[in-house]
């Protein structure tokens, strides 16, 4: 995986950064670095991951403060130039807050923090993030969030559907998300956000490797 130069963004309050680092560094054997939120450059990185956690303590709104960190300006520029950016859980919330992805993530309808493995359907396997999956394949990936209820207005939803931007949906909606959405990509198809945690399902040791193919897909797309 010499062609992969992964940058894992660390905000104060990120707590899945080491999990993602482990997948890139030890499972994919990729060149992997942490990027501190105060950094002003992403250097030579060719894929950026915004990990899960509680950036800035989830103050104000999840992901709202993170969008103003110096590094995020660079991530926005990188994405604008076609760079691959993935937001997982809190990272998805940050991508919505920055406007790199449409919509917002609301409090779960049942008000509970849901932490369990759920079944997702791969709605689009033509994306750079899902090439290793079959179309409509059902995969098992853990979720752990209190604010994963994806919301957007009707026009945006129509666009998401007609542009094939919906990548993953829940089989049994755990949070009230509109159209059962678990993950979406942007129109340019280089930015993806998802609430589930594929990094927690990427090794035999963890009892589940369904998430490994997600990282394999996106890293092979960088070739």
């Amino acid at each position: 995986m010499d062609h992969v130069k992964a940058g894992i963004v660390v905000f104060p309050g990120s707590n899945c950064d080491h999990d993602v680092y482990n997948v890139f560094k030890n499972t994919l054997k990729a060149d992997t670095k942490f990027l501190w939120h105060k950094d002003t450059s992403i250097g030579d990185r060719n894929i950026i991951i915004l990990p899960g956690g509680f950036s800035y303590g989830d103050y104000l709104r999840c992901g709202a403060i993170a969008k103003f960190s110096p590094l995020m300006n660079e991530v926005i520029k990188f994405a604008g130039n076609g760079g691959v950016v993935i937001g997982i859980c809190n990272g998805f919330q940050v991508l919505c807050e920055t406007g790199l992805l449409p919509g917002a993530l609301l409090r779960n309808v049942n008000l509970k923090f849901v932490c369990k493995t759920v079944t997702l359907k791969v709605e689009n396997n033509k994306s750079i993030f899902t090439g290793e999956y079959g179309i409509k394949e059902e995969i098992r990936i853990p979720i752990a969030h209190g604010e994963g209820n994806y919301f957007c207005d009707e026009n945006t939803l129509t666009d998401l559907i007609s542009n094939n931007q919906i990548i993953f949906t829940y089989i049994n909606n755990p949070n009230g998300s509109i159209a059962n959405i678990a993950g979406i990509q942007n129109v340019k198809r280089n930015v993806l956000g998802l609430m589930p945690h594929p990094e927690r399902a990427s090794e035999e040791l963890l009892g589940n490797t369904d998430g490994y193919r997600f990282f394999k897909s996106v890293t092979e797309s960088l070739l």
């Binding site: 104000l60 709104r61 709202a64 103003f68 919505c96 807050e97 449409p102 919509g103 917002a104 609301l106 409090r107 779960n108 309808v109 049942n110 008000l111 919301f151 957007c152 207005d153 009230g176």
Partner: protein, 86 residues
């Protein structure tokens, strides 16, 4: 010095599950006349501005850029000069 009092709440068209949960509790306490409950947040800013108009402009910008998310929230605010607030 001016004080901005900002109220932010989830759009009326969006379900507010927290409000609903509180509403159920109010009903179980016997407040049957409560027909709707919505929970938002209140933010107060002290602004060193030249005029009330400037303070309003700054408040509007803070709401638009950070304090509220227009995808899901509505906001309203009042601005008053310190010492004149009743």
């Amino acid at each position: 010095m001016y004080t901005s009092k900002i109220n932010i709440k989830i759009r009326d068209t969006i379900l507010d599950p927290q409000g609903k949960a509180v509403e159920h509790s109010l009903k179980s306490l016997g407040f049957n006349s409560v027909v709707d409950t919505r929970i938002g947040k209140y933010i107060e800013l002290k602004i060193d501005a030249r005029s009330e108009e400037d303070a309003k402009k700054i408040t509007e910008e803070t709401c638009r850029k950070l304090l509220a998310n227009p995808v899901m929230e509505d906001y309203e605010y009042s601005v008053s000069k310190d010492g004149e607030d009743k």
